[in-house]
Symmetry: C2
Subunit: 126 residues, 2 copies
Amino acid sequence: MKHTNNLDICCPPRLVLDRIGDKWSVLIVLNLSDGPKRFSELRETLHHVTPKVLTHTLRGMERDGLLTRTVFAEVPPRVEYELTQLGHSLRPVMEPINAWAAEHVDEVLSLRKAHDAQLADEPAAH
Amino acid sequence: MKHTNNLDICCPPRLVLDRIGDKWSVLIVLNLSDGPKRFSELRETLHHVTPKVLTHTLRGMERDGLLTRTVFAEVPPRVEYELTQLGHSLRPVMEPINAWAAEHVDEVLSLRKAHDAQLADEPAAH
DNA sequence: CGGTATCCCCCGGGATACTG
DNA sequence: CAGTATCCCGGGGGATACCG
């Protein structure tokens, strides 16, 4: 996004996809849906994503107001992440995504496989 | 995705996001919603995206059965892209995305701005 | 515990030029 | 018209190591 395409502005969907289209944001929202969680808890659930990446993702979401980060002055340190109202409002957006995926994942995968197989068969077209 | 994480399988949402999370797929679906379009038509609507990129995106979508590619044996050549049933079924998925974006884009942008401004103020925390 | 700091690789995506 | 062929850059994201 170097030359500030007006597409970025004219197309709101891009804002959402840039925000939740990355690898972990959706899973984070889902995981925080029923209450705040600590950094390590999230890491475990997210299959031990690298701390750097998790931090980066969380910071980005915090920046956009999707969640809050609360540091507790204890030893050992404790940090909790919690969805904001805005963060919670994303659930209705994700449900259709989930539903579509659940319903069509097999179809897509088999279509993809068939398509690849067909291409592999006919290198003759060249 | 090198070491085939089981997350890819266990989390259907990823399939969708990997598919429509890229820069152009959503816009393509929206643009093909009311009927087939030719390659150049798509290019124009999509703010003159590079042919290479457009081709790549379209091929990926074709591979997953979201659209069909029809070549007409004419001169000059004509190629039309049309959503499949599966492709059309994505619309209900995108509408909430659109709606959320329309409703919250200003909020997110201002929250983001405020957040950045605050960080710029306090390099003292260091 | 909850992060930073580095290094590194891959690839999405744009620019430019050429072709059947 | 509808693509290919190259080159290139930025950054997402993982691995590893270290820190307050």
